[in-house]
């Protein structure tokens, strides 16, 4: 992705400013990850010890949306926006359109996440509606941050010296713009009463995931993978095809969260049909990434950033494909409303999105700052996160299936609570490992941001010749 030098080439000051903004996004995102997953571990513990940490302020129903919203809007959103800025400027061979706007956006994202967390803790929950629990004025702050980000990304890419726009920016700019619309649709109240709100919830909860985190995470893959391997993406055209098919299919599948509900049957069936259609962009995109890595899987052992991205790609492929299957009525009859769904959401938000972020941060943050994490830190983080999330997802998948079968077999409801207990314990063990890996990640981010500098680009030294060739 060499970029022709032209009048818009960034100065050293520009590079430093970009690096500082990137570091600020990465550091605050990491703090949110630590907070959100510490809450997550406490929640997991409560399943085995419901009278542990009692009282109004630590009750499950308040902490649960704090965990999900802090993960979504604190951790993943901040990290992805920071990465998107760096990718936009670098892939366009230019400086940020406005460093100031990037910092204002950072402040707004963080203010929204803090205010949202406090509001939920105080019991100001906008309706237990998945991922839009923050009171709407707080979500308006988040929307303002999105608009600023979109403007800044577009302004940056508009400064590029090349004719083409690198594919990553399609995904990131598109994702931010679409999410502005999603946020607006969710906030406006006039058409959301009773069953009408159910349909909006279905639309919203899936689009907030699939049109926000998915495109931004894919944008990272498209930039970091060629960077790490020093070879272009396998098929640019396939990436473009996946972009448009994802755009057209994804917004239609939201109602699959309410199968067997009183929503119109045609709406549910349409959602199922397009859930199958989603295999096109998912398999197309995954194939593109894996084919970019063709013949080079051996490099995985030399490069933890590549390992993170590889797991992220597999998470995308497996998690999204699983989502398609969950949308079938026959399987939904077993899995709907069980803990299987929680396993699925962690496979996607963690196995895909979070691993993609980590791959991106480990690839790009050292390039921005010239500082690297230790190998020990990288390996500890990687293996605890992989093993922890594997235990997490597998245990809830089995436990959720048992729950669903218990109901189908007509057992007393409480039996389904008893039967999943052991799997909740395993989930807690997996979750604790995941949390520990985040502590190591925080240490690594510290090293990459404020640690000692190194001279050479140390992450892919074995490819230095190839890159020069």
């Amino acid at each position: 992705m060499s970029v022709t030098a032209d009048r818009s080439s960034p100065s050293e000051d520009d590079d430093r400013a970009l690096a500082s903004a990137f570091v600020a996004y990465a550091v605050t995102a990491t703090l949110w990850l630590l907070f959100a997953t510490a809450v997550g571990v406490l929640l997991a513990y409560k399943f085995g010890a419901p009278d542990f940490a009692p009282g109004e302020w630590l009750t499950f129903g308040r902490l649960r949306p704090i965990h999900t919203n802090a993960t979504f809007f604190g951790w993943a959103s901040l990290a992805l926006v920071g990465l998107a800025y760096y990718v936009a400027a670098r892939s366009s061979g230019t400086r940020l359109y406005s460093v100031k706007l990037a910092w204002i956006g950072l402040v707004l994202f963080n203010v929204a996440a803090v205010a949202g967390t406090v509001a939920l803790e105080l019991g100001y929950n906008d309706g237990n509606l998945e991922y839009r629990e923050w009171p709407w004025p707080i979500r308006l702050i988040f929307l303002a941050a999105l608009v600023i980000t979109a403007w800044n990304l577009i302004g940056t890419v508009a400064r590029r010296g090349t004719k083409d726009i690198y594919l990553s920016n399609w995904y990131t700019i598109g994702g931010v713009l679409w999410t502005c619309i999603i946020a607006l649709v969710a906030i406006l109240p006039w058409y959301q009463y009773g069953l009408g709100q159910v349909s909006v919830s279905g639309y919203y909860m899936h689009n907030a995931v699939g049109m926000w985190f998915t495109p931004l995470a894919l944008g990272i893959f498209y930039y970091a993978l060629p960077k790490l391997l020093s070879r272009p993406i396998y098929s640019y055209a396939l990436g473009v095809f996946a972009f448009w098919t994802n755009l057209v299919f994804y917004p239609i599948i939201g109602a699959h969260h309410f199968l067997f509900s009183p929503l119109p049957w045609w709406l549910q069936t349409t959602a199922i049909v397009f859930s199958v259609a989603m295999l096109v962009p998912v398999w197309g995109g995954s194939a593109n990434f894996l084919l970019t890595m063709r013949g080079r899987l051996g490099d995985l052992v030399h490069s933890y950033p590549l390992m993170f991205i590889f797991v992220g790609v597999i998470g995308y492929l497996v998690g999204s494909t699983q989502g398609t299957f969950e949308a079938f009525r026959s399987l939904q009859e077993v899995w709907h409303l069980t803990n299987f769904t929680v396993g699925h959401s962690h496979l996607t938000m963690y196995g895909f999105v979070t691993f993609a972020i980590w791959g991106g941060v480990y690839t790009l943050l050292p390039l921005a700052t010239g500082k690297v994490p230790s190998q020990l830190g990288l390996s500890l983080h990687f293996w605890m996160a992989v093993v922890g999330s594997f235990i997490y997802v597998i245990s809830l998948s089995i436990g959720g299936t048992i729950q669903g079968l218990d109901w189908i077999h007509g057992l007393p409801f409480i039996q389904s609570v008893v039967d999943i207990q052991a799997y909740w314990v395993w989930r807690g063990i997996g979750g604790a490992l995941m949390f520990l890996s985040h502590v190591v990640f925080a240490w690594n981010v510290w090293r990459m941001s404020f640690g000692p500098s190194v001279k050479a680009a140390p992450l892919a030294p074995q490819h230095a010749d190839e890159a020069a060739a």
Partner: protein, 339 residues
């Protein structure tokens, strides 16, 4: 720049159209869904309780949607579009870590039970993982006029003083008790014509139980007693429907729910009182000289005669009870007599 406009603008335009089509338009249309017959707005106190429900995230573990599936029958009739006319924010939920609450006001109509359960769920359901909401109660030396102390079992009661609900608990329990599905013309909630509730006819469960004649065709491994009694099924039905109040050991909760162990009506040679209590429920029952204020729901509305027979015979033969077994015909005959 043109290419940027095409990609960013074009994709956003496409997305905006799809958002209108799949988000806004169904929202507008479905918001007009009229209320179903018998669906009424909440009272002020019920609405306040619903706010407590939302503020404390109850719907992260409890759904309020009954699906048209066999396994959901235990929670009521399938939810209909008109049921949600007055429900904003909607509380359909996505997890059933705890049971569905659409019809909980019918299934569990006792405010006393609701208060004990809210104070600490494990006081009535030992296996429960629901949080204790004891912070919605206060401990006082003497109950203020107009409030009823919560009769907590000793193990869960504070060392001294008595427990009374505060405003939040009162509103929440008022809301929960208001959750009753209105009857649906053409949809019967009377399960007497259907097999054991919760037993589905899907292929996955084909081995679980047979339909109509379940009571006469006991599952393998369980011993069939007299009168078509299936002990395993009786125990399961008792656990699902009765144990929350009368407890698995049949001892009830002193002062709150009467014991079935050694209960006179259950050990009576004449089973009429026992059968009628299960069929039609009770209100202000006098058991062994103690008057219980908690209403007992009428299981005749939701369970078949075969199921009720199994429950009754389980109660008559457990915990040292030695009541004469009843037959499904006796239950049918009592049902025919009416209330």
């Amino acid at each position: 720049m043109n290419k940027l406009v095409l990609i960013a603008g074009g994709s956003t335009l496409v997305y905006a159209c799809l958002a209108l089509l799949m988000g806004v338009w169904p929202g507008i249309e479905l918001s007009k869904t009229p209320a179903g017959p018998g669906v009424v707005p909440l009272t002020a106190l019920q609405a306040e309780g619903r706010d407590v429900y939302v503020a404390n995230g109850c719907s992260y573990c409890h759904t309020q949607q009954v699906r048209p599936l066999a396994q959901d029958k235990v929670f009521g009739r399938p939810s209909a579009p008109g049921d949600f006319a007055y429900q904003t924010p909607e509380l359909l939920g996505s997890q059933r870590t705890g049971p569905d609450l659409t019809n909980v006001g019918v299934r569990q109509p006792s405010p006393v039970w609701q208060y004990i359960h809210l104070y600490n769920p494990r006081a009535v359901v030992p296996e429960s993982v629901m949080p204790a909401f004891d912070w919605m109660f206060k401990v006082v030396d003497q109950a203020p006029a107009g409030t009823t102390p919560v009769p907590l079992p000793e193990a869960y009661a504070p060392a001294h003083g008595i427990v009374v609900p505060d405003r939040k608990a009162e509103a929440l329990v008022t809301y929960l008790l208001s959750l009753k599905q209105p009857a649906m013309p053409g949809v019967s909630s009377d399960a007497s014509a259907t097999p054991m509730p919760g037993v589905t006819s899907t292929p996955l469960a084909s081995t679980a139980a047979s339909a109509g004649g379940a009571a006469n065709a006991p599952a393998s491994g369980s011993v069939s007693g007299a009168g078509g009694y299936d002990p395993a099924k009786g125990k399961a039905l008792f656990t699902a429907n009765c144990a929350a109040c009368h407890q698995a050991n049949g001892e009830g909760l002193p002062g709150a729910f009467p014991a079935l162990k050694g209960n006179a009506a259950i050990n009576d040679a004449n089973p009429t009182t026992h059968i009628r209590a299960v069929l039609h429920g009770l209100q202000g029952a006098n058991v062994g000289g103690v008057v219980y204020s908690s209403p007992m729901p009428a299981f005749g509305d939701t369970l078949s005669d075969a199921d009720i027979t199994n429950i009754i015979n389980y109660e008559r033969s457990s915990w040292g009870n030695h009541g004469v077994p009843v037959t499904a015909e006796q239950v049918t005959a009592e049902r025919a007599k009416g209330k």
